[in-house]
């Protein structure tokens, strides 16, 4: 075969490989879902317990996804878990007394953060902290509580 044709074939092969990689990166790992920084703003919240919550977990308002978790770290002063999230700019004017709760999709499903706006007039803006939080509901603890309460109050 002519070397020109070989070069073309190899070029197409490499192109196909790179396109495949790009497809996997964008469509499969969902890089495109890491919300564009221009149309988002950041919030953070501190929880007593975030067991089971992961990076890229959903953030919802009334069950509709409005953002996702970008980082989970520990605040060394309070020894509580700090969760950073990005929220789409379309959902602005979340009230200052919004509650962030870690909830579970179904009994065994994945953890996500549900935001429930309150009635305050002041609103949250970029970099603010959501003060009211409810930690993850841990099934084992719940079962344990029920059992001990049964044992003490027969």
């Amino acid at each position: 075969m002519q070397s020109r044709a070989i070069e073309l074939a190899v070029g197409l092969f490499i192109l196909a490989g790179i396109l495949a990689l790009a497809f996997l990166a964008i469509q499969v790992s969902g890089i495109n879902r890491e919300f564009d920084s221009k149309s988002t703003y950041q919030l953070y919240a501190e929880f007593n317990n975030v067991a089971g919550l992961t990076r890229k977990a959903k953030v919802t308002v009334a069950g509709v996804q409005v953002g996702l978790v970008t980082a989970i770290t520990i605040n060394p002063e309070s020894m509580r878990a700090r969760v950073d999230m990005v929220i789409s700019s379309e959902v602005k004017d979340l009230s200052e007394d919004t509650i962030a709760a870690i909830q579970t999709a179904g009994i065994l499903g994945e953890k996500y953060i549900a935001l429930s706006p309150g009635g305050a007039l002041e609103t949250l803006s970029d970099g603010d902290r959501v003060h009211d939080t409810q930690s993850a509901l841990i099934l084992e603890e719940l079962v344990g509580k029920i059992l001990t309460s049964r044992a003490t109050n027969p």
């Binding site: 074939a9 190899v10 495949a20 990689l21 990076r55």
Partner: protein, 262 residues
Amino acid sequence: MTILDQIAKLGQGGLVVVGNLGRAGMIVALALLGPPDFRHGPALLIRQLYSVGVFSLLIIAVSGLFVGMVLALQGYNLLIRFDAVEALGQAVSVTLVRELGPVISALLFAGRAGSALTAEIGLMKATEQLAAMEVIGVDPIRRVVRPRLWAGIIAMPLLAQIFNVVALWGAVIIGVGWLGVGADAFWTNMQDYLEFRRDIFNGVIKAAVFGGVITWIAVFQGYNTVPTSEGISRATTRTVVYSSLAVLGMDFLLTAVMFGVN
């Protein structure tokens, strides 16, 4: 035979293995070290990418399609018992991107390209072409081995990604098109779980390592072959057996390093 004789024989076998390992290592060192050849290198590399990569494309794509379809069927049958068919996309893509993509395409690559490499180099040795190169003053390790090694390292990750995409397509055909899993759930569950750095990038690294190991084994077996038709056929078989074992062994090690045991 006394026990002493047997121990001596065992020791001798060990020496042969270690000696071969040393020779194989030297071939790689000589091939990868040393100044690059800008004048002839690119053309030689393209030629090898063609015979190693383009020729493997069809078998990789067809196998990928079937693997993806089977994964979707089996995954669906398992997940439906837990009422969690929405997780099909996630299950299939994790299996593919992390493990089956690199490993199956590497095994196919060993059978398709690795054996051809061994036979080609063995034949070049048997027909004195390597010796002729040496007396012309061209180092056959630089001229023959180097472009093939690089071609393996470059082609393998590309082939694995193509395998992944075709397999995913097969899974969508079966899962979404045939079994009726919601397309939205299929993709969003996948996207929620997979991460580029942890899953896809590690898969690319795995494939590159496999490509290097397979071509290394293939090239060494060709170079070390007994230059007869019987010797070449034995060397070809050894290439497929050794490189398949090496791929599976390396896969375990790499998985342990990359994904740990948490």
